[in-house]
């Protein structure tokens, strides 16, 4: 599948995680931001990396044909990482960002219409990283 960036209309995301983390991230984002589309979740539960990669491809095929995809992964070193990187290798408009957390997903939803696809992964990684802090109440 080859797509040109000129034809890209929408940037979608698939949150690929262990257990129900991804589904809960998306459900929680809906509670905070209300209605949105183009965000999916997949669990690695009971799946080989190959099966998980097929599920990712399946979602991509059934989404808009002009979509670009950010794959948000909880833990890169395992089946979620293996599956998403396998998909990224085969598609021009797919990029993996690992270490997904709620601020990162909310940043995706707020920025996907403002930031070009090429720059979005780095921005999301930065937002996710910046949200991780050791907090001392005296220095707030």
């Amino acid at each position: 599948m080859t797509r040109t960036l000129a034809g890209t209309k929408m940037i979608s995301a698939i949150v690929v995680t262990h257990g129900r983390l991804g589904a809960e991230f998306v459900a929680t984002a809906h509670k905070i931001l209300g209605d949105f589309s183009g965000v999916y979740s997949l669990s690695n539960e009971d799946k080989t990396p190959q099966m998980l990669a097929e599920d990712i491809e399946h979602i991509m095929e059934h989404a808009g044909s002009d979509d670009a995809f950010i794959l948000l992964v909880d833990f890169l070193y395992g089946s979620c990482g293996h599956a998403t990187l396998a998909v990224e290798r085969n598609h021009r408009n797919v990029h993996v960002v690992s270490g997904v957390n709620l601020p990162m997903l909310l940043a995706f939803l707020n920025k996907r219409n403002e930031v070009p696809f090429e720059r979005l992964p780095a921005e999301l990684a930065a937002r996710g990283r910046d949200s991780i802090q050791s907090v001392d109440t005296d220095q707030l």
Binding site: D46, K47, T48, F75, L76, Y77, G81, H82, L85, R89
Partner: protein, 158 residues
């Protein structure tokens, strides 16, 4: 015998191995015996990046892994051998590697498979390969992570 753990797991190197078995077994090396990965640059890089720096990792076809182990390439190391399937494990034994016990760590649901345990689903060919391993005197110990109890499944596959 330097093989401290031989594990069947269709995810090969992943969290359960790195966070569960590596601290329990304390291996010097992980040997991934898999024909596909041995031939895939990006998969070798990916799996290497999963492993903590104090543990060596090597990738070999099943046939090469058998030759390396039999040829005492790893004789000064404690190793974990990871295999993707029961069939690959049978090939390793058929190539002369004598293993008394094999950890069955994860075989996921596929079309036509039957559930033996929540983390062990077998298609017909796999059951046959496990049965052959039992005939060769292997103890099949199903255990996903060290902190969960092991279950001997020999009687379930014959």
């Amino acid at each position: 015998m330097p093989v401290k753990l031989a594990r069947i797991d269709d995810r090969l190197i992943h969290g359960q191995v790195i966070l569960g078995w590596v601290p329990a077994v304390k291996p010097d090396r992980i040997v991934v015996a898999n024909d596909r990965v041995a031939d895939s640059d990006w998969e070798r890089k990916f799996y290497s990046s999963c492993v903590p720096p104090e543990v060596n990792v090597s990738f070999a076809t099943v046939a090469d892994a058998a030759r390396q182990i039999a040829g005492n390439l790893y004789q000064n190391e404690q190793i974990i051998v990871l295999l993707e399937s029961a069939q690959d494990t049978l090939r390793l034994l058929a190539a002369g590697i004598d293993l008394k016990e094999i950890n069955v760590g994860g075989l996921h649901y596929r079309e036509g498979s039957v559930e033996l345990l929540p983390f062990v689903f077998l298609v017909h060919e796999e059951r046959n390969a496990l049965r052959e391993l039992v005939k060769r005197g292997v103890t099949l110990s199903a255990q996903d992570v060290p902190s969960n109890p092991a279950k001997i499944i020999n009687s379930l596959v014959v």
